[in-house]
Amino acid sequence: MLTFANLTKTYAGGGAAALSQVDLAVQAGEIAAIVGGSGCGKTTLLRLTAGLDQASSGFIEIDGDRVTAPHPAIGIVFQEPRLLPWLTVRDNVAFGLGDQPRAARRQRADEALERVGLAGYGDRWPRELSGGQQQRVAIARALAPRPKALLLDEPFSALDAFTRASLHDHLLALWEESRPTVVIVTHDVEEAVTLGDRIIVMQPRPGHIYEEIPVDLPRPRDRMSPNFDAAKRRVLKALDNSLNPQHPPGQTAPAGGALWW
C-alpha cells in the first residue's frame, strides 16, 4: 500500500505550495489515475514518490517503509522514454538489475521485453525504435526489477491515439500479471477512465486533492458503453469545477468543460 500523509512541498523561491497537505492511500494492486489542471502538483506528487525530490513536510510510505530517496520497490516511467542512447535496448531494460549476475540479468531483460511485445529487439539501439516502442522499453525497464509500485508520469502523452490505445492494453496486461500498485498521472480523461480504479482530481494553487471518483467498471472497459461515458462526464465535471471554483453568481458555468486545460 502506498500512503501519502499530510504531504506538502514548497519549492525554493517561495510562491504557493506546489502540494499542500495531501492525504491519500493507494491500495496494493490498485490503479490510481491522477488528473488536474496545470500546476496542480500532480508531477510533484510523482517526483516525491519516486524519491527524486524531498517533501517539505508530511511523508510517503510504501508498505510502512518511509520514502525519502529512490526506493527499490518503486519504479517510474517518465513522460519521455529516457532510454540511455549508448546502451542497447536489452541493456537499457537491464539497467536497474545491476545487483544480479550477468546471465540472470540478460534473461530478466529478455523476459521483460517479451512481455511488452518487443522480443527480438534486444540488440537494437534505442534510436532505431519508434516513440511507442521506446516507451514500451521504458515500461519494461521500470518493471524488470519487479517493483511493488509503478509510477507513470503522462507516459503516453507524446504518442498518437492508436499507439496510446494499444499501450493502454499492454499496460493493463502487464498489470494483470503481477498486480503492482499503479499511480498514473495524465491529462487525458479518457485515459484515466480506461485505466483507473479510482480517479484523483487535483486542484492547483496550492496543489491538493479536490475529489476522488471511483470507477467501478469491469475490465476490459468498453469505451463506447454508457457507463464509461458517465464516468468520463463525472470526471470532466469535477475538473471543470476544480478550475472554476467560484464563478460570480448569475454567470453560468461554461458548458461541457471540454476545455478544462
Partner: protein
C-alpha cells in the same frame, strides 16, 4: 564504406547495364568514374592545378624556384631523405614525442575535467587556477621547462602535454555540465552510487565530446612538438625545419612540412577509427566525425 567496396558495386552496376555499343560503354565508364572518384577528386583539383602550374612555371623558366622549389624537387628531397633513413628517424622521434605528451596531457585533462565537471566544490576550488594557467601562452613555459627538466626529451614532452591538457580539460568539463538532467535522474531512480553514476551515465554521455576534445588536443600536440623541437633538438621533423632554414634548403623545409601534414592526418584518422566503435549508438546528423 571503403573505396574498394564502392568500386566493386559500381563495377557490378556497369556490368549489369551491359552496354551494346562503344557510346554506351563510354557513358558507363564516365558514370563509374563519377561515382568512385567524384566525391574526393573535387577537393584535389585545386592543389594539383597549383602544383602543376608551379612546376611548369619553373620548367619554362618563368620563375627560378630557388626559394619555392617545384613539386618535383620536393618529391626528390622526400625520396632522398626516405632512402637515407633520415626521414624515418626524424619522423619516429617526433611521433614518439607527440604521443608521449598527448598521453600525459589527455589523461590529466580527462581526470581533471571529470573532477571539476562532476563536483561543484572541486570546480570552485580548481577551475579558476586552471583557467588562469590556460591564459598563459604555452610557449612561455619553454624557458622554465628547460631550467627544470633539461634540454632533452622531458621538457619537450612536458610542453606538448601542457598544450594537450587544456582543450581536453575544457571539453570534458563542459560536456559533463551539459549532460541531460533527465538521464542523470534515471541513474538516481535506480539508486546508482557515485562511482556507478560516473561510469554508467556520466562517462558514456560525454564520450562524443571527449573524442572531439582529444582530436583538438592531438592537433595542438603537433603544434607544440614543432615549438619544442625549435627550442633545441638534434632530431625530429622540427629539427629538419630549422636545419633547412639555417642551411638554406627550402626543399627540405617543404618536405618536412608535407611529412607533418601526412603524419598529423594519419594520427587523427587513427584516433577516429579507434574511438568509432564507442560511438556507434549516436543518433546525429553526421554519424561520422
Amino acid at each position: 564504406m571503403t573505396v574498394q567496396a564502392s568500386t566493386a558495386r559500381a563495377v557490378a552496376d556497369v556490368e549489369s547495364v551491359a552496354p551494346q555499343d562503344a557510346d554506351g560503354r563510354a557513358r558507363a565508364a564516365r558514370a563509374l568514374a563519377g561515382r568512385v572518384g567524384g566525391v574526393w577528386l573535387v577537393g584535389v583539383i585545386l592543389p594539383v592545378l597549383l602544383a602543376a602550374g608551379w612546376e611548369l612555371a619553373v620548367a619554362g623558366g618563368f620563375a627560378n624556384g630557388r626559394l619555392m622549389p617545384p613539386p618535383s624537387q620536393i618529391w626528390g628531397e622526400l625520396v632522398r631523405l626516405a632512402a637515407s633513413g633520415e626521414l624515418w628517424t626524424h619522423l619516429l622521434t617526433t611521433l614518439w614525442r607527440v604521443l608521449a605528451g598527448f598521453a600525459v596531457g589527455a589523461i590529466a585533462g580527462t581526470l581533471a575535467g571529470l573532477l571539476t565537471g562532476a563536483s561543484g566544490l572541486a570546480r570552485q576550488a580548481l577551475d579558476p587556477t586552471i583557467q588562469a594557467l590556460r591564459a598563459i601562452p604555452s610557449i612561455a613555459w619553454v624557458p622554465l621547462f628547460i631550467l627544470w627538466l633539461g634540454i632533452f626529451e622531458a621538457s619537450k614532452v612536458a610542453l606538448i602535454a601542457v598544450g594537450v591538457f587544456f582543450p581536453v580539460y575544457l571539453g570534458v568539463m563542459g560536456a559533463i555540465g551539459s549532460i541531460d538532467r533527465k538521464l542523470v535522474e534515471v541513474g538516481r531512480v535506480f539508486r546508482l552510487g557515485r562511482v556507478q553514476m560516473a561510469t554508467r551515465v556520466l562517462l558514456p554521455a560525454v564520450l562524443p565530446e571527449w573524442v572531439i576534445s582529444l582530436r583538438s588536443g592531438l592537433g595542438l600536440g603537433f603544434m607544440f612538438v614543432v615549438a619544442a623541437e625549435f627550442m633545441g633538438a638534434s632530431e625530429g621533423l622540427g629539427y629538419l625545419l630549422v636545419d633547412g632554414q639555417q642551411l638554406g634548403k627550402p626543399a627540405q623545409i617543404l618536405a618536412a612540412i608535407i611529412t607533418f601534414a601526412i603524419l598529423g592526418k594519419l594520427c587523427d584518422q587513427a584516433l577516429v577509427l579507434a574511438t568509432r566503435p564507442l560511438l556507434a549508438w549516436r543518433d546525429t546528423v553526421r554519424a561520422r566525425l
